[in-house]
Assembly symmetry: C2
Homo-oligomer: 292 residues x 2
């Protein structure tokens, strides 16, 4: 494993809202950057700033020392890593791949083991903090895999995040992200029910929010999403459709490790209902709309 | 309505853990105090410090200008206010009664209207902040009833609390408290599921907690009760049995105002399960025990 330094070439696959900000910090940090995205247009600005375009993920892999991926669904991750022309075919011994997609912990472990057979190190390193955290380089990064690889990649992580924590063996980063999403899922039920209750009871929900948001009912969701709900603002900070994806992974993973996560199951089913009624592109606070 | 001043005699019914601290602040504040409690023993210290003992609630009512009640269940509130020898029979026009029990909003409105026929003003003013908030005089007090009465009683409230907010007409204080408990109920599902998930996934739950407790999953419950769960500490900050009482009121009230509070219903049923298995005297964090 080559130490990561400014002579390290980093590959970046997945230039979405998150990926674009994250890759941008790597350019600013002085790394030579290879990029690929399904829609080339989204990589234009990075290319203008010096990133090298690659026509496919395999090319990114063969031309880079460390490859970072942040894509959509576990199926995309599986395709990119393990597919017929997946990056595992193109990475060389000593290379490192880091999947920062929120994806399945079980898939992460599977990729880790496949890669290891080839002498390639893989970390799972999903993030939280959203587009603002990505833009400001203040993401939380939850990392699973080998600890020496985690340490080696730290110069790259530290350009993108602030709260960067090693969680354990392969898949542990994803598991930690799932624990995060599980905590949020039921909290959202409480926030939306509470505000709807206040309104239906004839109270002023803003006054109620001010009263309860600093005590034992306090939560990030109540303080940050509560006011948006009251103002009828359902614009996405975090998309309903993306949260549903995460909750599906979390519920599958819960079942796999033998946990009956009833709050999560309820939240997931209600968000799916919301999506079926056309709410998939709202922000997660739109769960409120389920409470008629 | 006589203005509340240091010549006001205050009656206090219900000298439990909360009531004792609250009444103590009123004594320190210079009020003349009449007290009654089902178990006289619990009032001993207050009596030693100058409070006058009354043999029944009616005596408290007839000897006081402002009567405060903080008892157990809505059935106790109903008995004390509307029972055959209830305080409404003993209060005089111009007197004020303040129920600080967490109780039914609908009952609060009923008592308000009965009292009004007699020229007696009633506020519903449940609190949050627990025994520590009561001891430190830092309770949140959520008040329903007439606003001029709320203003008149402020010198008394301000000795017991910090965050004292008028919520609207009779019952609104209770409704606000219910909104608070509804937000907490589902959040507790999320907190317990998240920690149990982390453990079952083989992660170090303390590390996970540190990682997620300051981001979008942040909540008072996660930060304050999460560490207790991890340390196997299920001692009561807030008793399971009291939370169940509150959730029953909240669910009944939700049904009454036409809200299907599914998260609340799930949390309530799980806490009831916990109580049936002998957990009623644990703290609310013991919900964790339901996740095997």
């Amino acid at each position: 494993m080559k130490p990561v330094g400014t002579d390290t070439t980093v590959g970046f696959i997945g230039i979405g809202v998150m990926g674009k900000s994250m890759a941008s910090h790597l350019l600013e940090g002085g790394f030579s950057l290879n990029v690929y995205n399904r829609t080339k247009d989204k990589a234009k600005e990075l290319i203008k700033r010096g990133a090298h375009w690659c026509d496919n993920p395999g090319k990114v892999a063969s031309d880079s020392d460390v490859v970072i991926t942040i894509v959509g669904y576990p199926s995309d991750v599986e395709q990119i890593y393990l597919g017929d022309d997946g990056i595992l075919h193109h990475l060389s011994p000593g290379n490192i791949a880091v999947d920062m997609t929120t994806s399945s912990p079980q898939l992460a472990a599977r990729i880790y083991h496949k890669a290891r057979e080839k002498g390639v190190a893989v970390l799972d390193a999903p993030v939280s903090g959203g587009d603002i955290g990505a833009k400001e380089g203040k993401l939380s990064i939850m990392v699973g895999g080998d600890e020496d690889v985690f340490n080696a990649v730290m110069p790259i992580f530290s350009l993108m995040g602030k709260n960067i924590v090693y969680q354990g063996s392969a898949g542990s980063g994803q598991h930690c992200k799932m624990a995060n999403q599980i905590a949020i899922a039921s909290t959202m039920l409480g926030v939306c029910e509470s505000i709807r209750y206040a309104e239906k009871a004839g109270l002023d929900p803003g006054t109620v929010l001010e009263t309860i948001a600093s005590g034992a009912a306090a939560s990030w969701s109540l303080s940050n999403l509560g006011p948006r709900i009251i103002n009828g603002n359902f614009e996405p900070g975090f998309y309903v459709k993306h949260f549903i994806k995460d909750m599906r992974i979390a519920l599958e993973s819960s079942e796999e490790i033998g946990l009956s996560a009833k709050g999560l199951a309820l939240a997931k089913s209600m968000y799916e209902e919301l999506a079926e009624q056309g709410g998939e592109n709202f922000g997660t606070q739109a769960l409120y709309k389920n409470y008629l």
